[in-house]
Amino acid sequence: MANRKKNTDEFVDMMESKEFDEIEKKLNYYFVQYPDEHKIDATIDTLRQYVPDKKKQSTKLVERFWALLKHSGREFSLISKSYWLSSIILFIFGYLITNYGAYNPLFTLVILAPIPFIFGLIEVFKGREQGLLEMEMACKFSAHEIMLSRMLLVGVFNITLNTMLTIGFLPQVETISILEILLVWFTPFTIFAAFALWLSMKFRGAVFVMTFLSLWVSFSALVVSYPAWGNFILNMHIAFHFLFMGIGIIMFVIQMKQLVKKYYYYEEVGNIEVTH
């Protein structure tokens, strides 16, 4: 940049004002016709479509959100029954084991909380896994919207299961307030969900599941085997819970935005994701 400016200055210095006058005279020979009204109007009309209409866009966003909710209902039947069933069975199993084994129910909550969402991501990316992504992208309700609507279903289902398990464990953890119990599982849930979403956009089904499960088993083993780690999560100050939860939610929102960006246009999608 500095070199270019220096060169320009030198060039200007070299040019005598007389030379400038000569150039000006020569340029005067060229006649640039002012476009007529019709041409100006035609140009404005052509360019008008490129000017974003803010009001229209915000209305469209609301419409899109309602469409997303509506479509989530349709997607419900497309998510495999075995997913719904296995998640429910897992939670019932967790509840029974904790009760009969006299384990700490808060540990159970922390460990089980993100599992339905993690397995749900396989359902979210089912179109990608089975090679339908390109066809879905060309539809009115596009690939990223399908993924979001499925994620909404899976998320609501997961939180419902967690809440029910929390209610189920309430008689055993009377000493802690319900808010604290919710925070205990919700904080790691947000962070792990965000991480899982990031991972699922990088790797396809089997690789993603294996990677995440190995990490999750390590984390669970750590919590169970080293009580100090588990107690750290359980006894963390409420302010830290909110801090980590905030970080988790921000990370999750960032990943959601990444998902929309990635699956909006084909070029963001890697070849591995459209071949099958």
């Binding site: 089975q130 339908l132 390109e134």
Partner: protein, 292 residues
Amino acid sequence: MRLLIDNVSKKFKDKWAIKYFSAELTEGVYALLGPNGAGKTTLMRMLADISMPSTGRILLNDKDISLMGDDYRDILGYLPQEFGLYKNFTAVRFLMYFASLKGLDKKFAIDKVEEVLDLVNLTKDRKRKIGTFSGGMKRRLGIAQALLNDPKILIVDEPTAGLDPQERIRFRNLLSEIAGDRIVFLSTHIVSDIEYIAKEVLLLKQGELIQRSTLGNLLEQVKGKVWSVNVTQAVLPEIQRQFKIGNIQRNESGIECRIVHDEKPVENAVAVHATLEDVYLYFFDKGAIKDV
């Protein structure tokens, strides 16, 4: 209806997949012909608005398709070259699902699904699981999903890949039937797919549009440049090395070669009628003809 591809280019890192492509399309079947790697799929994706051009724009009736959003998708049907299907779905369930993605009303969709199944000759397999379908049936189902919303613009990328000859003929007829009031843009490297149905043929080579013409005009261009000659086995390798060879057929008097060349290639060569296959051979390299 007018679809204008205005100076469209697509660059991936330092490689141009499509270079300053311009064309104006109106109702009818247009065939994009080119060898593998010519950039056909990249162009198709841009026309389907799932990929953005690096330069240029695509206008439908003077409106930029990238700004039309749902209005464009409402009138678009797209079948990519490679696609998968939900294997545990039946054909009807799969099409009903895609009808919902295309925003079709459920009552309307029920009738439309039956209509497109009939069109692609899958009515009797409507309740079968897709996992049990043959490759050709899957492709026909793919075509059916592209037709669900009665698209005004139908973009089909290598639609006959993997179809047997009978299915290819059926597909050609299907395209001819539905092309009346819509723009059908199909890419292929199989010339016989388009011989009888294309209103115009666009030849794409290394991302550039090298010819755009009617089939008749293209044939006219290679008229007098297609030769037939009988050679012996001994000289065949030399002939193959020097010229672009189409068919090679053994007969009682030796080996009959079809050569595409500007001038008479050898003394005893006889000029013969050109076919679209010869046009392809004339404009593209020898290697590309093998799938014809």
